[in-house]
Symmetry: C2
Subunit: 381 residues, 2 copies
């Protein structure tokens, strides 16, 4: 039996552990600083995993745990991701990670190459499958002129006023609404304010959604030689206008203001009031919607390649759509690492996997087996 170590027992980590634990080739240990989270994760896996309480902000702890493992899977809070990656490389173990670090994971590429270790990062849904599909499109086409990624995690029921619940840390959502977005136009990286260039688009099962610029390209902006690339985030129409108003009012400001003789950070007050309203209630269903569109020349003809994902909360497992669509690619890629189907040493963003023969097909098959279905469309333009 191979030993798999899962770092982080949150909503995504526990689903990763459950997925790997269902595979008889692996014995699974999950680590987290919270015993309560570990017990919840263990319950999800019907006790088929071991748990260990550990401070994963301590690289030495990660090195020690990873040293006992054959394969490591990361689902840590974003601020822990960068140092954890370095620690897993130090331990010399293959790594499949969705920790969504703010830093550039490729900083550790040379170190991973030197150690002969393969680490796939950002391997969730977006980033993750979006990169894999973008990479596959760019690789498959004779010439790729444009890649557009539209993605959103949403509550199935839209409730006034926000019509939104956050599938991950709400503070990261506000960060996404305020940080300028890097997009690629005519081969140049250009920066646009967040929440700009709104488009209304129709999606099956949902209806009309609004897409705006957010800073989601991450490694794609550097790794793919495609002259036009953009990632836009999807919400129910009306949500972004409120967010623009809140931003314009100063409610998202991190600059302290003087109120009642105290220094107060407006964003902290807004967060305290708003985030409870952004939290999924028990039993409240979520959905994930994504479209990855690539335009260019395929077999000598102007072509549009498009992948569409629509996924909902799974009542059978009680896994949220966000955790399904994020955890499964990570768990599937961990198996590919373990099986020696991905061996290139270094820190690999998922677009690199898109150029590897058979990887996309295997990932798609495995996702389909778990009920997560991407449909591919090829159309002449």
């Amino acid at each position: 039996m191979a030993r798999a170590l899962v770092l982080g027992a949150g909503m995504v980590g526990s689903v990763i552990a459950a997925d790997i634990a269902a595979d008889e080739r692996f014995e699974v240990t999950i680590a987290d600083r919270s015993d309560a989270s570990l017990q919840k994760a263990a319950a999800r896996c019907a006790g088929r995993i071991s748990t260990t309480v550990a401070d994963l902000s301590d690289p030495a702890a990660i090195r020690r745990l990873a040293g006992d493992a054959d394969i490591v899977l990361g689902a840590l809070a974003s601020h822990l991701g960068y140092d954890a990656l370095a620690a897993v490389i130090d331990a010399g173990k293959p790594y499949s990670d969705i920790s969504f670090m703010a830093e550039n994971a490729l900083d550790h590429d040379a170190k991973a190459r030197a150690a002969g270790v393969t680490c796939v990062v950002d391997i969730g849904v977006a980033p993750g499958m979006s990169n894999l599909l973008a990479g596959a499109a760019a690789h498959r086409m004779d010439q790729c002129d444009r890649i557009e990624i539209y993605v959103g995690g949403l509550p199935v029921e839209r409730r006034w006023p926000f019509q939104y619940k956050a599938g991950f840390a709400p503070a990261d959502v506000i960060e996404e609404y305020t940080r300028p977005s890097r997009i690629v136009e005519r081969g140049e990286i250009v920066v646009r304010p967040a929440l700009t260039e709104p488009e209304l688009l129709d999606f099956p099962h949902i209806g009309t959604l609004e897409a705006v610029n957010t800073d989601g390209l991450r490694t794609l902006a550097d790794t793919l030689d495609v002259p036009n690339m953009v990632e836009k985030t999807l919400r129910y129409p009306g949500h972004y206008e409120l967010m623009r108003v809140f931003r314009a009012t100063g409610l998202f400001s991190k600059e302290p203001i003087e109120v009642g003789g105290q220094r107060v950070i407006p964003l902290e007050v807004t967060s305290a009031l708003m985030f409870p309203k952004w939290t999924y209630e028990e039993g409240e269903r979520d959905l994930t919607v994504m479209a990855v569109i690539a335009e260019g020349v395929l077999d000598g003809k102007p072509t549009r390649l498009r992948w569409d994902l629509y996924d909902e909360h799974d009542a059978a497992t009680n896994f949220t759509s966000m955790s399904r669509t994020t955890a499964f690619p990570c768990a599937i890629v961990a198996r590919l690492l373990h099986e020696g189907k991905i061996t290139t040493p270094g820190v690999l963003p998922p677009e690199k996997l898109g150029a590897m023969p058979g990887v996309l097909e295997t990932v798609m098959d495995e996702l389909r087996a778990r009920g997560v279905r991407y449909t591919e469309t090829v159309e002449a333009i």
Copy 2:
């Protein structure tokens, strides 16, 4: 020369003083705790008024100043209005007041009657002219079944996101958006949440506005025997939806919350951020729009009486529309008091003046002479 005393040298008080000072029958003194405000007011009157620095939260100071006057005009901050009214009654002087006190001015009615003093309160635009017209309609009709008052003070230019500037204290505006509104239906006082029962209405010069319930009937709910009465406040469409979202988010809450180890009152943070955006910039024009509609039986026939006001900032005097429409009725009624045309002792809300022969006509003529035009429509229904 009669001696007129103006209490309060704010935006409205200074316009009241200017109006009275232009009348050769009066010598005017204006009192305020702020010398800066007094100097501004004096400049507006080309020096034709005397100023006196006084603490108008001290009833003794008001009694002393009023003792030297023949007629008193009130334009105080709302929290000072109630005690100031009592002090003017104690001084035994007629009083025309727009201080918009939260308390019930009629509490002082018995005291004023006993002293043989006539005090007209709430004599601005709404409350004020709205009451006068409602009272006149109820008096003129054989039977009045319904009175609707629609009123708003707005910037001429509507700017995203709020499309609103506050002509008076923004905190009073939020109070209006949160306090339940009393309306009269089938002879009963009923209470509706603020910002409810929206209607879209078209107004000449402006276009479509949105009207919602606000708690504006004040004395009308008690003094007029009309079975259906409502006051609704007008804003550009979209404003109220934002206010409902802010209210629902908790941003208008006065309950402290714990943020960063401090107790913070959300409304104070919101106010600090939002009110600067609600403040008229130098040279930014405002408008006032009002419709008072009365339905019932007139001369035996089902009839709708309607008065419409549309007024804008006056470039010649640089008086805002809010101060024009509020200050002029107060100054005009002060003259009627001085001329002995209103003599009933007691605290009189303006609807009482609507039943006095000739008063409405005189007020309308005087307003018209100042460019504030109410148009009357009589229509069979």
